[in-house]
């Protein structure tokens, strides 16, 4: 889950977050892998650059868990592509993971904010 090397502004995806991002992206409707990558990249304002190899392995993993389903179709510019869509199970997981992530970021923020306050006092 590494980001591409020469982009210092970009941040490595945390373990497990790629799954969450994929599920979220698919909530908007079926999409092929390249589309998922583009959407994640665009919506994160180019902070996340998805490693494509990892993406496809992750997609396969989610498919094996039956959180998403896939079938071959044709893209808007008439190319063959494998389209992924969210299953009911995947929707459930998305809710659960989103909740988890929210709790995590809140906890992180609590700590980071208080730490910066301390730092400010010292300065």
């Amino acid at each position: 889950m590494a980001t591409q090397e020469n982009n210092e502004d970009r941040i490595a995806l945390l373990q497990g977050t790629l799954d969450l991002l994929i599920l979220k992206t698919l909530l908007m409707g079926p999409c092929h892998g390249q589309g998922v990558a583009r959407i994640i990249q665009r919506q994160s304002e180019d902070v996340f650059l998805v490693d494509h190899g990892s993406l496809y392995v992750a997609l396969q993993r989610l498919e094996d868990k039956c959180w998403i389903s896939a079938r071959w179709g044709v893209s808007e510019n008439n190319r063959k592509a494998r389209f992924y869509s969210l299953t009911a199970k995947g929707r459930e997981q998305l809710n659960e993971k989103t909740g988890e992530w929210r709790r995590l970021t809140r906890a992180m923020n609590l700590i980071l904010d208080s730490a910066s306050g301390l730092k400010g006092e010292e300065a």
Binding site: Q34, S54, A81
Partner: protein, 888 residues
């Protein structure tokens, strides 16, 4: 996971679709088509890696780890191919040699007879045969009368099985038109049923077949395969045995090659009652065959104990039957002062003959290859230890980077197991080859194919090796500490002192074993040279010998057949002289009995044996063989049935029975005193039965003057290659009788060599294993010392920097191996003495404590140690102090 829905090709297609879509998008952003494609590819990164992850995903984690370990193990072994090759070859040689010798031992000594319930089978043996009888083997053969009496009782033995070969070697058989030779036995009707041998094709013999002397034959599975290509139509066909037609009625079970030790029987026929098919191919003795001659004890007997009867009980009921049967037609009771023979029952589980012939050599060889294996294993352990020690830094770095200790152990264990498996596979191939060679050299004709026991043995050895080699990485795993990586210095190398103590002990052990092996090999090789250089007492080169077994209707016809044959053979171009003899020289066979000298049993000074070896020879026998006639003359064509009976004796005969007298003019004759033979010549002692025998009194009859005649051996002295005369000789024989093959044609030299072939093979193998051991010890020593020197390079650098001289450094290194060598030799000599004592019975012309051999062995070990240390020592001395110090 296992029912994966997607194929790798589908995954590949998806990636290609991705690249196309990405390129489209990029084109939309203003890139050219080429640029877009290239950029899409670049952004995707490593397509192969993604595919590989797709592959690996979904496999069981353990399997994945194992595969990774194996791949890693191979890679790391390939990084030091020298080590890997040395280790695998060492293992293959050590284990292969053990497997090969064990296969032979298993086939020859351990395997039971391929019969039903071998535990209840017993060989019948006797303490002796009654006086006035002739035997094939004093303890193991019986007369037909004894067999007949024993089989009539039924309480102790449910079956009495009698068998006797049709010839001492092979007999003439004919199937279709071509005469050939094969090994055949005459057997009782109980043979197949009593032993419990299956007949996959056809049937065995019955009591009725035996009673009728039915002209039937059962062939061995091997012969069926070899000669008849497993053709089922062979049943009902005729096999001519010594020109007597026999109908083939069955094929014996695969693996059953008869109960004669040493050879494999090709066919069996029921006990016969006709002159052409007498036991052992002998001519009738005064008109009597084995079946009605109570003085000829020639049948071997096997019994099957009745259920619930043990050996003691069986013996108790058989003994009286045996002792009275022994004297049927021999006066009814023992002569005054004669002890009656005593019957005993021996285990019939294996092949009796084999154990006597091959038992000791094989056990000794097994011990030798066991020692070689120990040395080989020790070598590989040392190599592994050294290699792991040299990789200490690598391990430490890997541990510092987060590799678990367990992970490290697992990977090293995998490396060891790869070595063991590769060594094992190679060893099996090597063993197959070596077993076949061993079988051919030792002339063991029974099947040596490795069976389950052999496989288990090899797997056991491999498991032992695997376990040993697993300990080496265990030590690393226990000792390895991450901090070591940062302080691999001269100081740290001293921390290895404990480990090198193990190394030193292994080197001493190897030297010890090597001294033992070299002494053993040395003694056997000296034995070999003694055997090869033993004078035969005759001029054996240029002699060719073959057997003929003509169908002889009468004594007169027999004599004229041979006279005719000799005359025709003498007329062939290139032939110097031709004669005939009954017992072939160097075949191991002999006819032994007490003899009258001057019409009485001779008194031997000092109470020596009265046994005389007798033989029957033709005219010009000693001249043809090149045995010097010391006094009197050789047999001549002019000695015939009508002239006075003449005989020839050897020096030993004269020395023992006629001391101080001129033997010419004295007489000898058989024990019954019926015939008196005038001694007309004395010949020099020469080898008769085998090369390694001591002189024994001998007497020769003239073939034309004795009342029996049958199969004979023809001896021809020719110019040039002796074997080249055979086609012409075969023509001559077949002109006289188209049924006759030449039986076992070979040079007389080769015939003698067969008597020591086994010792020679044994000595060669021992020599080979000795050599193997010393090579292994040499490489092991070199490896250890080289490694030790390399570990001490910084120390040596420091010493040289502070003024140590070259010689001092060389001595410092050499001192070490000198100490090890001395220790090895000191412990090795007592071991060698044990080896020598164990070999005593296999030695010829050399003492087990032969000083020269011991010195040579010690010198050999010392020389190897010196050479193996000199190279590292030289390298140590040429260490550049600055460079060594910079290593710090």
């Amino acid at each position: 996971m296992f029912g994966r829905k997607r194929s790798a090709a589908d995954f590949q297609a998806e990636i290609e679709a991705h690249l196309a879509l990405e390129a489209d998008d990029l084109k939309g952003e203003g890139f050219s088509a080429d640029e877009a494609r290239w950029k899409a590819q670049r952004e995707f990164g490593n397509v192969r890696a993604a595919q590989e992850r797709f592959y690996l995903k979904g496999r069981p984690v353990l399997l994945e780890k194992l595969l990774r370990d194996i791949r890693f193990g191979f890679r790391s072994l390939l990084e030091s191919p020298g080590f890997a090759i040395a280790a695998v070859l060492t293992l293959a040689l050590g284990i292969g040699a053990n497997t090969a010798v064990f296969s032979v031992m298993n086939a020859v000594l351990l395997k039971s007879l391929p019969v039903t319930d071998p535990a209840s089978l017993v060989y019948l043996q006797t303490s002796d045969a009654p006086r006035g009888t002739g035997t094939i083997d004093t303890n193991q053969t019986f007369s037909y009368a004894v067999y007949d009496a024993l089989r009539r009782q039924s309480k102790a033995l449910t079956a009495v099985i009698a068998y006797v070969p049709l010839s001492g070697s092979k007999v003439a058989v004919r199937y279709g038109t071509d005469p050939e030779e094969a090994e055949g036995d005459m057997v009782s009707g109980t043979f197949f049923s009593g032993l419990g041998v299956n007949l996959p094709v056809g049937r065995g013999f019955t009591a009725d077949d035996e009673a009728r002397h039915a002209p039937l034959a059962v062939i061995s599975y091997n012969y069926w395969t070899r000669r008849f290509a497993r053709d089922r139509d062979v049943l009902g066909k005729t096999l001519y045995v010594n020109a007597v037609p026999m109908t083939i009625v069955g094929v014996a079970a695969p693996g059953f090659e008869g109960v004669e030790g040493g050879g494999s029987t090709d066919f069996w026929i029921p006990l016969q009652n006709r002159g052409e098919l007498n036991a052992w191919g002998n001519p009738p003795n005064e008109g009597k065959l084995y079946i009605n001659d109570p003085t000829w004890w020639c049948l071997r007997l096997i019994g099957r104990l009745a259920p619930g009867v043990n050996r003691t009980q069986a013996l108790a009921s058989l003994q009286p039957v045996f002792q009275s049967a022994a004297y049927i037609e021999l006066g009814g009771s023992p002569k005054p002062g004669e002890k009656p023979p005593v019957l005993s029952l021996e285990d019939a589980k294996g092949f009796t003959g084999y154990d006597r012939m091959y038992g000791n050599p094989l056990r000794t060889l097994m011990a030798m290859v066991g020692l070689v294996l120990l040395i080989a294993l020790a070598n590989v352990v040392m190599l592994l230890l050294a290699r792991n020690a040299a990789r200490q830094r690598e391990f430490s770095v890997r541990q510092a980077l987060g590799a678990g200790r367990g992970e490290l152990f697992r990977q090293l264990l995998t490396e060891s197991l790869i070595l063991v498996s590769a060594g094992g596979v190679l060893a099996w191939g090597f063993a197959e080859m070596a077993t076949r060679l061993l079988g051919r050299w030792a002339q063991i004709e029974s099947s040596l194919a490795p069976d389950r026991t052999v496989l288990l043995f090899t797997l056991g050895v491999l498991a032992l090796a695997g376990l040993l080699f697993g300990l080496a990485p265990l030590q690393v795993a226990l000792a390895g500490k991450a901090e070591l990586a940062i302080r691999t210095t001269a100081a740290a190398s001293h921390a290895d002192e404990g480990k090198s103590r193990i190394g030193r002990m292994i080197v001493v052990l190897q030297m010890t074993l090597c001294v033992g092996l070299l002494v053993g090999a040395g003694l056997l090789i000296r034995t070999l040279r003694n055997l090869e250089n033993t004078p035969l007492g005759m001029h054996a080169d240029g002699l060719v010998v073959f057997g003929v077994n003509p169908n002889i209707p009468s004594l007169q016809a027999g004599r004229s057949f041979y006279l005719d044959l000799m005359g025709k053979l003498r007329a062939l171009p290139g032939v110097e002289s031709v004669t005939i003899v009954l017992e072939r020289l160097g075949s191991g066979a002999s006819n032994n009995s007490d003899m009258m000298v001057d019409a009485k049993l001779p008194d031997v000074v000092g109470g020596g044996s009265r046994t005389v070896r007798s033989n029957v020879a033709g005219p010009g026998f000693f001249t043809t063989l090149g045995v010097p006639v010391l006094a009197g003359r050789d047999f001549a064509d002019s000695d015939t049935a009508k002239t006075p009976f003449v005989g020839i004796v050897n020096e030993e005969f004269a020395r023992r029975f006629l001391p101080g007298a001129n033997p010419l003019g004295h007489t000898f004759g058989p024990e019954n005193g019926q015939v008196k033979i005038n001694i007309i010549g004395v010949v020099k002692d020469h080898k008769y039965r085998s090369i390694d025998e001591k002189p024994i009194p001998m007497a020769w009859y003239m073939y034309a003057q004795i009342p029996v005649i049958g199969a004979m051996n023809v001896e021809m002295r020719v110019h040039g290659d002796p074997l080249a005369i055979l086609p012409a000789a075969r023509n001559v024989v077949q002109q006289l009788d188209p049924n006759l093959p030449l039986i076992q044609p070979m040079t007389q030299r080769a015939q003698f060599d067969t008597t020591v072939a086994q010792q020679i093979l044994f000595a060669r193998l021992a020599g080979f294993f000795g050599l193997l051991a010393i090579v292994l010890v040499g490489t092991g020593l070199y490896g250890t010392l080289a490694y030790r020197v390399s570990m001490r390079t910084p120390e040596i650098g420091v010493r040289m920097a502070v003024g140590a001289r070259r010689e001092q450094v060389v001595w410092m290194v050499l001192k070490d191996s000198v100490a090890l060598t001395v220790a090895g030799v000191v412990i090795g000599i007592p071991l060698a003495m044990l080896v020598g004592r164990a070999l005593a019975s296999s030695l010829y012309g050399i003492e087990p404590l032969d000083a020269a051999t011991y010195l040579l062995a010690v010198a050999g070990v010392a020389a190897v140690a010196l050479v193996a240390s000199a190279i590292p020592a030289g390298r140590a001395a040429s260490v550049d102090p600055m460079r060594a110090l910079r290593v710090e």
